[in-house]
């Protein structure tokens, strides 16, 4: 299965959430590949705490591969190269977790058919080895996004291939909802781009779900929340829900949300069960990642049954 992670803006939590999803999916027994297609700012290495890949690999990463500079992209087993001791462990019953990093100093590029062919080959290769491949795309309408859509379009993808998931990440604020809706529905947005690539609109829409990130609850106000604050929060949340619905990002398109996680405010990282056990991270955070992971791989859950 291919899972694409997109967002209109940077800083939405797309990469951190995607890395956490990859990690949780591997815990649940899936072999997972993480493809860092955010060529301008490949951050997965830092999130998985791999010192040599903090800003991508010095050569031979996915950007070089797509540009045809290397025959095979660099890949690492996250558990082998991470600096974080707890992450090195592979619990029984869990699957592989491999990172295909981007390149240091990668950038946008002018998309050609050769690039699309490379992407098709890459997706096919990883799908033959892994159960799930998560593709972290640059923010906004990028070449990586166009390339990905064209590489999985119905005319190139075998009919019986595994399903595709398209995730749209956004923060839970007025501006982010509006921006995300724009990226999906605008004249030159993702859906238009998908239709251009040969998808039928309804078919493609059934692949898209949103993830609302870092959603605060009333504890965000501090220990002692006033009744006024609680009421205000509820009202604001309702207004946002109304806005999201009006902009086409309502419940029917919602895969789930991640709560505001204080640990992630300081540091982009994988939240592990030990973090919860040590009472550093919220139980709700790992639970949200687990639920999202389950939703993604389970066809019925994805459809919302």
């Amino acid at each position: 299965m291919l899972v694409f992670s997109s967002s209109d803006k940077g800083g939405t939590g797309r990469s951190v959430t995607s890395c956490n999803l990859a990690y949780r999916l591997s815990l649940s027994g899936q072999d997972v590949a993480y493809l860092d297609f955010d060529f301008g700012s490949p951050t997965a290495g830092a999130i998985f705490e791999i010192p040599t890949l903090e800003r991508g690999t010095p050569d031979g990463g996915l950007h070089s591969y797509i540009l045809g500079k290397v025959a095979e992209p660099v890949r690492v087993d996250v558990r082998v190269v991470t600096e974080r001791t707890a992450l090195k462990e592979r619990p029984p019953g869990s699957g592989k977790l491999s990172l295909f990093p981007g390149d240091v100093g990668g950038a946008e590029f002018h998309l050609t058919n050769d690039h699309i062919k490379k992407a098709i080959d890459l997706f096919e290769t990883v799908e033959r080895e892994f159960d799930v491949a998560i593709v972290d795309l640059s923010a906004g309408r990028s070449s990586a996004l166009d390339m990905s859509l064209q590489a999985v379009a119905p005319k190139v993808r075998p009919k019986k291939a595994d399903p595709i998931r398209w995730l749209l990440f956004h923060r839970w604020t007025t501006q982010h909802v509006i921006a995300a809706s724009g990226l999906l529905f605008a004249d030159n947005g993702i859906i238009a781009c998908a239709t251009n690539a040969g998808f039928d609109q309804r078919g493609f829409r059934s692949m898209v779900r949103t993830i609302r990130t870092a959603v605060p609850d009333d504890t965000a106000f501090g220990k002692e929340t006033t009744a006024e604050q609680e009421a205000w929060l509820r009202k604001s949340d309702d207004i946002l829900k109304g806005l999201a619905k009006a902009r086409g990002l309502g419940q029917d398109l919602l895969a789930g949300l991640t709560p505001l996680e204080p640990m992630l405010l300081w540091r982009e990282q994988v939240i592990m069960d030990v973090d919860v056990k040590r009472r550093l991270a919220k139980r709700a955070t790992t639970k949200a990642f687990d639920e999202l992971a389950e939703r993604i791989i389970n066809d019925d859950a994805w459809e919302g049954f």
Partner: protein, 325 residues
């Protein structure tokens, strides 16, 4: 006397001194192994040339040789990378209708012309490249096996992968493999020396890549290449079986879904000595003494079969239990 740059026939002096190769191995992208007839059609990669095949001891089909033009550098351990021009030879090999290999090689002529000649010169010498600059054979062997890759450096693994990919698009292939597998790569280099006893060494790298080097008289080269193909296939078989076993113990997954295809597709293929040319048995034996591949295969297979036995017993007990309720 011929002008130095004029095309010449390979004379004593212009024989290749080094031959470099790569074998990539993976699972053909089909749900079921290809029957021999379909495999022969699929591997007839050149119009009008049929694929070689044999039925015993196991079905194997070999495509006609394909040639790929090259103008690139050779990796060396030190100093300037020599430029080579010519063609690489590559073929696809399909074993048991299911295990697909791309096998590519080039023979390197070191003391040829000092500048690039018209293409017709190289086209007439298939499977050979000529180095324009000076180079030391031992250095080329090391550079090829251990040097850094890059877009300008000879990458025969890429050629092998390409030949494999040709089989992805033939009508006989349904692109629905039932096993998750990874493609393996093996690199080899032969230093051709007519005056020596054949000698070779196999290194299993930390990167999971087997590297094989050999000094050999040229007449043994075909057998050496076959050895490398046999080794690559068995290395792949072992990792594919281990992977299936590993995956069968995953959370939320039916063990049978991983084990059944692995057993029925891979279980019967292991048989290195039957595949090996007689002249190469010593090298395989040396490898076995060190790496114990056959032992590892046997013990993995036993674990897989034990697991099947347990699963079957459990299933029977459950049925009996249901009937008695």
């Amino acid at each position: 006397m011929a002008r130095p740059d004029a095309p010449r026939h390979p004379t004593e002096q212009h024989r290749p001194q080094v031959v470099l190769g790569a074998v990539t191995t993976g699972l053909l992208n089909t749900s079921e192994p290809l029957p021999l007839e379909a495999a022969r059609q699929a591997l007839a990669l050149l119009p009008g040339v049929s694929a070689d095949w044999r039925r015993h001891p196991i079905e194997q089909v070999v495509s006609p040789d394909l040639f790929f033009g090259l103008d690139c550098k050779l990796a060396v351990r030190s100093g300037a990378q020599p430029r080579v021009i010519g063609t690489a030879r590559a073929r696809a090999v399909l074993t048991a209708g299911h295990v697909l290999q791309g096998s590519a090689s080039v023979a390197v002529v070191l003391d040829a012309s000092k500048r690039r000649l018209p293409w017709a010169h190289y086209a007439a010498r298939t499977g050979m490249v000529e180095a324009i600059n000076k180079a030391d054979p031992a250095d080329l062997v090391n550079g090829f096996l251990h040097g850094r890759s890059g877009s300008t450096v000879l990458d025969l693994g890429k050629t092998g992968s390409y030949v494999m990919s040709l089989l992805d698009r033939v009508p006989q292939v349904d692109r629905q493999a039932r096993l998750k597998t990874q493609t393996c790569r093996l690199l080899w280099a032969a230093h051709l020396r007519e005056d020596v006893e054949p000698d070779g060494r196999v290194e299993a790298g930390d990167d999971g890549v087997f590297r094989v080097r050999m000094s050999t008289p040229s007449e043994l080269l075909p057998q050496f290449v076959e050895f490398c193909e046999v080794l690559a296939m068995h290395d792949w078989l072992l990792s594919a079986l281990k992977n299936a076993f590993d995956r069968s113990a995953r959370r939320g997954r039916r063990a049978e879904d991983e084990i059944d295809p692995a057993l029925s597709y891979l279980g019967h293929i292991w048989n290195p000595t039957a595949h090996l040319p007689h002249e190469m048995r010593w090298l395989w034996q040396a490898l076995e003494d060190e790496a114990q591949l056959t032992w590892e295969w046997q013990s993995t297979l036993t674990r897989v079969r034990d697991k099947v036995t347990l699963l079957t017993r459990k299933a029977i007990e459950e049925t009996l239990h249901k009937e008695s309720v």
